[in-house]
């Protein structure tokens, strides 16, 4: 993925070609050699270090030890490392494997929790990545997630159907909800040239208020409760668990895997994806080759929204089991960073979603056990994405050589 995805201005100057990394075959070895994976890993390292600095300076003990650094430098460093180390080890135990846990079940539960947190991120991230690859900035993941969750949730308690069927119908409802919401932006972009960034940002807010409004209407919530939340879903609409309780890993994760494969197929193996990518990479050439840019724009947004809507559906049908105002959390915005970290590739987005899901899951344990606020995760995530967007910066931090592309002629 190049650092420049420039749909906002189709006439934009070409991306800085020196940094244009080959973005082709999912050839792992080639990627590692070309350095893009290395940059990703280094970006994560730098971000964690920066996060460590933040943890340290906000810790009273470390600051106290620092004041005394000349007298007792050893004291300072041991405090420093124990504070930061404790926080990150708690993060790890909360995300992957808890070696402090009393039972095996509890020890491996964090890993499944990471998968649970990662599921909506992967689905929504795929939607955003797909749009990026097609040259569109879908900042509207949040709104699409909300719409998807809203419709999926509503169908989940308003209808009464046999298990599985009910769940599938509700999930399809979520897909349609997200698709419509993103489709609005797509149609406006194709027909009037309205900038999709602005429109999707606005649609995010509109979706939030729409859900807020609906949750106050008893015809919608199917409850008489004064709280702005809906009735719980029918059991038949819930995404069934993949592992016995207390594990919460649900069918949504399988959907996320399937969706990843689907998006991979779409982008790499289908004629539609060929059109998507062609329009994203060079709309002029795409048009000359007989591809309708406006049709593609609308279709991309619909598919992207469908994926994000599915993410919302997975959240409500798999984890929350009822609609609340905060159903979407910050999934829509996190998913943007997921897509960027994954370099807008399906597999990359999948792993980035898992990573950020792990951060989220681990963050809770870190907060409860060491008192390090979960917000540090946001810092780490955003620093990762900023660095990944500027590979030359990472290379200059680590004094890495600039990759030489075998470009005979521009």
């Amino acid at each position: 993925m190049t650092t420049d995805i420039s749909p906002a201005a189709p006439s934009a100057t070409p991306p800085p070609s020196a940094e244009a990394e080959p973005d082709r075959e999912p050839n792992l070895l080639q990627d590692i050699l070309s350095g893009s994976w290395l940059v990703s890993v280094l970006a994560i390292v730098v971000a964690l270090l920066l996060g460590g600095v933040l943890i340290a300076v906000s810790n009273a003990e470390v600051v106290a030890a620092a004041a005394n650094i000349v007298a007792a430098p050893g004291m300072f460093f041991s405090t420093l490392f124990s504070t930061v180390g404790e926080a990150y080890s708690a993060l790890f135990r909360g995300a992957i494997f808890d070696w402090d846990a009393r039972t095996t079940e509890r020890a491996i539960r964090p890993l499944t929790e990471s998968l649970v947190s990662g599921t909506p991120l992967i689905l929504t991230g795929l939607g955003i990545a797909l749009a990026f690859r097609s040259g569109l900035f879908n900042i509207g993941g949040q709104g699409q997630v909300i719409l998807g969750a809203t419709i999926a949730g509503f169908l989940g308690y308003a209808l009464h159907l046999p298990p599985v069927v009910h769940m599938l119908i509700a999930a399809i409802g979520g897909i349609i909800g997200g698709a419509i919401w993103a489709g609005i932006a797509g149609v406006l972009k194709a027909r009037t040239g309205a900038n999709e960034v602005i429109v999707t940002i606005m649609l995010n807010s509109i979706a939030g208020y729409l859900l807020g409004y609906l949750l106050k209407q008893s015809w919608f919530t199917h409850t008489d409760s004064a709280n702005p939340q809906s009735r719980s879903l029918d059991d038949s609409a819930q995404m069934f668990l993949l592992l016995p309780s207390p594990f919460r890993l649900h069918f949504g994760f399988i959907i996320a895997i399937l969706a990843t494969i689907f998006v991979w197929w779409l982008l790499e193996r289908s004629t539609i994806g060929f059109e998507f990518k062609a329009v994203g990479a060079n709309p002029h050439a795409a048009r000359t080759a007989g591809i309708s840019v406006s049709k593609v724009t609308i279709l991309v947004m619909i598919v992207a929204g469908a994926l994000a809507g599915l993410g919302g559906a997975a959240q409500v049908l798999g984890t929350e089991y009822k609609l609340t105002g905060g159903i979407s959390g910050s999934i829509g915005f996190d998913a943007i960073t997921v897509a960027l970290l994954g370099r807008s590739k399906p597999l990359g987005t999948f792993f980035a979603g898992l990573l950020f899901g792990a951060f989220k899951a681990g963050g809770y344990l870190m907060q409860s056990q060491t008192g390090t606020p979960i917000d540090i995760v946001l810092v780490v995530q955003s620093v990762i994405v900023l660095l990944i967007a500027a590979p030359p910066l990472v290379r200059s931090i680590f004094r890495l050589p600039t990759p030489v592309l075998k470009r005979k002629e521009a």
């Binding site: 004629t271 060929f274 048009r287 080759a289 007989g290």
Partner: protein, 525 residues
């Protein structure tokens, strides 16, 4: 007053001397290196060698600001005007007269515009918005800009490229006025008629080198041959055409651009099966638009385009490609390829959804891969792997990819715009061979080219376009001189007659230049 250049990439040891108060034409084809050189002169690019002498003193320009301070003004080919500014604001930009607190003294700016405008009879309203002005007027704003900074040397880069004939006439008279008032003008162009009408001295550049110094008395034909070059005439072996039915017909085609200028004007022609019709002409006379309209990128205002008896007007690009048109666009990097895509993806850019490459929605990557390898072999494309991005290839190999794609299926019509632009000799020959092979297979071929060598190398018949119209359609045996005249707008019969019996009388418009050169001493101060 001397300016000397030395070796640098696009300009190879070019020496150029501009006398004060003269109009010096720099004549050359597109890509000959004229604009690059002037951008160096204006301080926009750094020279990699050589020096600039002003009044015999060497000067260095770190940026355009220095050049302006030294009295050099430039009117760029693409105007350097902010569309949403007023004329006064545009002229003031960078050299703003200010009142207190950094507020612009607009009255002063307007006054300056009015002054210069009145001096040269420009008729420009200082409060008009740039975007509301016709291009001719925008150009005059650019000239005002340069003059308001006391430019002694004015560089006009392809000033007539965007002008209508009337506007061109106006510009020429403005240039005369400027000259009378002592401004030196460097006039960069590839249009012969204008050069002869206005220039005092002419330098011809070809491929970054000076190929000659000419006087305005030279005939257009002479200038043309210097500019285009007579050297290696690339003759591709070909048999005489064996034309069949005229399956492709264009009738009364008229195309209007966004600014409501007629760019293709009532054009009609046929292309028969098994023949190559070459559209010759100087760049910007409607050839590009003609090709784009045939493939469906632009809709015509009037007229019909018929292929195999079916009217194509109103059909989508995809439908037209489907009805058997192969199209090689003029601007390869923008329209012909997707730089980030792999070579094999570029090979199916407009056939990706057809068998054998796709079945339903599925791309058949094995087939795509095999076909790509076959084409690499067939078209002798030098590459590492078909999954490398096409940006890693040289221009010639990129063009071969485009050709392999467009010629790789059964065609009912083949259109190529500037098929060999920017290619090396070997690639050019290869491309020509393939086009002729396609003709021999019975496909009607339409080749748009500004290179006369190419036109001669390929054409069975030649259509010459000028100012949106087809001046005439002549045989491939027409002389270079006659074609040159037609490219300058002279009707076919007159051009043929004129070159049959050579005469020079129509060079009368050129101004005498010796008096300007001698009265220059005080002007340089």
């Amino acid at each position: 007053m001397t300016k000397v250049f030395g070796s640098f990439v696009a300009n190879d040891h070019i020496d150029l001397t501009i006398e004060p108060g003269e109009i010096h034409a720099l004549l050359g084809e597109n890509g000959a290196g004229k604009s690059t050189m002037m951008n160096v002169l204006y301080g926009l690019y750094d020279a990699d060698g050589g020096e600039i002498l002003l009044d015999d003193k060497p000067v260095t320009f770190a940026g355009p600001g220095d050049a302006v301070a030294a009295g050099i003004g430039m009117v760029h080919q693409h105007f350097m005007l902010v569309p949403v500014f007023t004329v006064a604001e545009s002229v003031a930009l960078g050299y703003e007269p200010t009142k207190s607190m950094g507020l612009i003294d607009l009255a002063e700016a307007r006054k300056k515009v009015r002054e210069i405008s009145a001096r040269f009879n420009f008729n420009i309203d200082p409060d008009a918005l740039i975007e509301d002005l016709p291009v001719g007027a925008q150009q005059r704003v650019e000239i005002i800009k340069a003059l308001s900074r006391n430019a002694k040397i004015l560089i006009l880069d392809e000033p007539t490229a965007v002008l209508t004939p009337q506007e061109t006439d106006e510009l020429i008279s403005i240039m005369r006025q400027l000259k009378e008032q002592g401004t030196s003008i460097v006039f960069i162009t590839h249009k012969l008629r204008e050069v002869r009408a206005i220039a005092d001295s002419i330098t011809v550049i070809r491929r970054g080198k000076i190929t000659g110094v000419a006087s305005p008395d030279s005939t257009e034909a002479e200038l043309a041959s210097q500019m285009v070059g007579r050297h290696v005439s690339l003759t591709t072996e070909k048999d005489d055409a064996d034309p069949g039915d005229a399956t492709f017909q264009v009738r009364s085609l008229t195309v209007v651009d966004k600014a409501e200028n007629v760019v293709v004007d009532d054009v009609s022609f046929d292309v028969r099966r098994g023949e190559i019709l070459a559209v010759a002409g100087v760049q910007g006379n409607g050839q590009t638009e003609l090709a784009e309209t045939i493939i469906g990128l632009t809709d015509p205002r009037l007229g019909s385009i018929t292929l195999d008896g079916k009217d194509l007007v109103g059909k989508s690009v995809k439908d037209r490609l489907g009805s058997g048109i192969g199209f090689v666009p003029e601007d390869r990097s923008t329209d012909g390829i997707i730089a980030d895509f792999t070579i094999r993806e570029n090979m199916i850019l407009d056939v990706y959804d057809r068998p054998p490459y796709a079945k339903g929605l599925n791309l058949k990557s094995a087939v795509i891969n095999d076909e790509a390898k076959k084409k690499v072999e067939e078209f002798d494309i030098r590459l590492g792997s078909v999954v490398d991005p096409i940006a890693t290839l040289s221009g010639g190999n990129q063009q071969k990819v485009v050709l392999s794609r467009e010629l790789g299926r059964d065609l009912r019509l083949f259109i190529a715009s500037q098929p060999t632009r920017g290619l090396d000799v070997g690639s050019i020959e290869f491309v020509h061979k393939r086009v002729i092979a396609e003709r021999d297979a019975g496909t009607p071929c339409l080749i748009v080219s500004t290179e006369l060598d190419e036109v001669y190398g390929l054409a069975d018949r030649i259509a010459v376009m000028y100012s949106g119209r087809i001046v005439g359609i002549v045989g491939a045996d027409t002389s270079r001189e006659a074609l040159g005249l037609m490219m300058a707008g002279v009707p076919a019969d007159e051009a043929l007659a004129a070159t049959a019996a050579p005469e020079k009388s129509d060079a009368a418009t050129a101004a005498p230049d010796d008096n300007c050169a001698t009265t220059s001493a005080e002007e340089t101060k």
